[in-house]
């Protein structure tokens, strides 16, 4: 929060009485980010097609996080913004992480019979195919 100096504020907001000449706002970062995003899309597409097994998820998520960081910092101006919007964004993500951590943590460490029928480690009979067959819409 402390780094929200006047220089950070000036690009986001304008005071009506402010007579200072602003440096010309440049569009180059947007073009660079756009090209980077397209590059990462191709990259994630190509790595996704390789079926890299256990590495597929971390790689895809790393690329997605990089892409969203670019969008948030440049397109959404978090790079130039004051501390509060950054704090709000990071907090929201942190609480998403919190919800994810405990919920998946619960499922992952659960006493197995408490896991619903149809789970991969359940018995054949507890799987829902039978149900699905006689309930198909046709």
């Amino acid at each position: 929060m402390s780094e929200s100096g006047p220089s950070g504020q000036a690009s986001a907001v304008l005071h009506p009485g402010d007579e200072q000449e602003k440096p010309e706002h440049s569009a180059i970062p947007y073009v660079v980010v756009w090209i980077a995003l397209l590059f990462f899309t191709v990259l994630t597409y190509l790595t996704g097609k390789q079926h890299l097994g256990q590495w597929a998820l971390p790689i895809a998520m790393a690329i997605a996080c990089t892409k969203s960081a670019l969008v948030a910092l440049i397109f959404m101006h978090l790079k130039d913004s004051s501390g509060m919007p950054r704090l709000v964004f990071v907090t929201a993500l942190a609480f998403l992480g919190l919800l994810m951590f405990f919920t998946v943590g619960d499922v992952a460490t659960r006493f197995r019979p408490a896991t619903p029928a149809g789970a991969p480690f359940g018995t054949e009979r507890s799987q829902p195919e039978g149900l699905l067959e006689h309930e198909t819409p046709e």
Binding site: L98, L99, G105, D106, R110, P116, L131
Partner: protein, 549 residues
């Protein structure tokens, strides 16, 4: 007292400015208002109305429980009644009660602002409240829901009653709550008067600020989980249906990720009210300002790490259950800090035992009692015995009715002269407070005992040997209802015929008393500059304010 009246007048500028109540008296001037004070008053009317609706449901339940067997309402109606009691009391009363009604009214006054940051959004929040309430009432009239306010799947996705409109109503009410919270956060950040830094902020503002953070972060998760149940009901998507590989416990995770922090949405503003009133009625600045302020944020934060204690017996993993049990106990630390500081504030203060102070005492007792039983419940091994019994019911009523409603009543009495410029009869106030505190104990202490003996919650029938305690509980509930009725009557009379109050009848040095009572529409002729802490009673200067040239 007279001294501060003169001060207030001096600060409010020319007394000729009409109060917000006189500034336009047509219906349109109310329903189309952007004035935070009028919106606050409209919310107040709404929440009080629904408090009585929910109260009637509760009384019907209690009267049925006089008999162990079937008695004047059938089992389905009983299920509907406890569901609607929960839904109305939580979504239509407790969540908006203190933040939306009193928060709206006093926060801009406390921080020296002319309005909240987004007045139109504020009005939208009120209308969402009305729309949500209308949808929910429509559902109640057309059959109601019988799932309990927790809407647990898979029953809520298959119940033949009208669950969908109730879910939708709660969803819309969630949006109302989000908008209110958003408004308060932005208001606190951008509209503080000159000189009012965070360490001079009134503690009520801190409480509401912490509440708003919870509203922003938790309410959307409730929204999505209610939406998913609706989709499940209408579309049969099977997301929480074990027959299709779904996990009902996932719903409970999502639901309690909101609904546990929601308890702090109800109790943090209440704590804020107590922090204000305890100063005003003890003529003393708060003991340990920073500790009280930071512990509000602390409770808001830790409150997010505890939701799993609702799932101890739902099939949740033992490891996660243990972690949640431990984390739940941390809430006790922050709450204890606050209780300690409130009592520290009273110590050697000049206490004036007015009606709000009676509620402060009630609040402290209920909060400590309810909180201690909460610590016991966070212990997984004990919880297995008490889970889904009347013990739980009594525990959360101690916090949600005991603590929150006491604070609501304290706020109502403390700010009644501020809001309406009238005084209520002090004698009747104390009589009602006594009735309510006694009645509450008589209602819920038997329920602790019932729960411990094994009486499950939400049951229509019970073994005969529980009858004595049930009768005691119903008797207490009746007493409680009389207490609330007395308040309603004398306040309604005071509204019209009450004595005109002095602008600052309590001689309080809270910042909201800087302006006239009732305040003019624009709150301040001149935006004040704050130089002191709120509730600084050491000097005879008006509350921390100097005039701006």
């Amino acid at each position: 007292m007279r001294l501060s009246e003169a001060d207030s007048h001096a600060l409010a500028g020319a007394p000729a400015a009409p109060s917000y109540l006189e500034d336009g008296t047509t219906v349109m001037s109310w329903i189309n208002t952007r004035d935070h004070k009028r919106i606050g008053v409209m919310f107040l009317v709404g929440v009080i109305f629904f408090f009585f609706v929910g109260g009637v449901f509760a009384l019907l339940l209690r009267f049925k429980l006089l008999q162990p067997g079937p008695f004047f309402i059938d089992a389905i109606s009983y299920n509907r009644l406890f569901t609607l009691h929960g839904v109305v009391m939580i979504f239509l009363f407790l969540i908006p009660s203190i933040p939306a009604a009193f928060g709206n009214f006093v926060i801009p006054l406390m921080i020296g602002a002319r309005d909240v940051a987004f007045p139109r959004l504020n009005l939208a929040s009120f209308y969402l409240y009305v729309i949500g309430a209308v949808i929910a009432i429509w559902g109640m009239v057309h059959g109601g829901a019988d799932t309990g306010w927790t809407f647990y799947t898979p029953y809520s996705s298959t119940s033949p009653t009208q669950v969908a409109p109730i879910l939708l109503g709660a969803f819309v009410l969630g949006f109302s709550s989000i908008l209110t919270g958003l408004n308060f956060i932005v208001t606190t950040h951008t509209l503080r008067a000159p000189g009012l830094n965070w360490m001079k902020l009134p503690l009520f503002v801190w409480g509401i600020y912490a509440t708003s953070i919870i509203q922003i972060l938790a309410t959307p998760v409730l929204g999505i989980s209610l939406l998913l149940v609706t989709v499940e009901r209408i579309g049969g998507f099977g997301l929480f249906d074990p027959a299709r590989g779904g996990d009902p416990v996932l719903f409970q995770h999502l639901f309690w990720f909101y609904s546990h922090p929601a308890v702090y949405i109800m109790v943090l503003p209440a704590m804020g009210v107590i922090s204000e009133t305890v100063c005003a009625f003890c003529r003393k600045n708060i003991f340990g300002y920073r500790a009280v302020a930071y512990s509000s944020i602390g409770i808001g934060f830790v409150g997010f790490f505890t939701w799993g204690h609702h799932l101890f017996v739902a099939g949740q993993s033992t490891f996660v259950g243990g972690a949640f049990g431990l984390l739940s106990m941390f809430v006790g630390i922050f709450t204890a800090i606050k209780v300690f500081n409130w009592v520290g504030t009273m110590y050697r203060g000049a206490i004036s035992f007015k009606t709000p102070f009676a509620y402060i005492c009630g609040f402290l007792y209920f909060l400590v009692f309810g909180g201690m039983t909460g610590i016991a419940l966070a212990t997984t091994s004990l919880d297995i015995h008490w889970h889904d019994t009347y013990f739980i019911v009594a525990h959360f009523h101690f916090i949600m009715v005991g603590a929150s409603v006491m604070a609501f009543l304290a706020a109502l009495h403390y700010w009644f002269p501020k809001m309406f410029g009238r005084t209520y009869p002090e004698g009747w106030g104390l009589v009602a407070a006594t009735l309510i505190i006694l009645g509450f104990n008589a209602t819920f202490i038997p329920q602790f005992l019932l729960g411990n003996f094994g009486m499950p919650r939400r049951y229509y029938q019970y073994p005969e040997h529980f009858q004595a305690l049930h009768v005691a509980s119903t008797a207490g509930a009746t007493l409680l209802a009389f207490g609330f009725l007395i308040i309603l009557i004398y306040l309604a009379i005071a509204l019209k015929y009450g004595e005109r109050s002095a602008p600052n009848p309590w001689g309080s040095k809270g910042f909201e008393w800087m302006t006239a009572s009732p305040p003019p529409t624009h709150n301040f002729d001149v935006i004040p500059t704050i130089t002191q802490m709120p509730h600084d009673y050491r000097t005879h200067e008006p509350s921390g304010v100097i005039r701006v040239a």
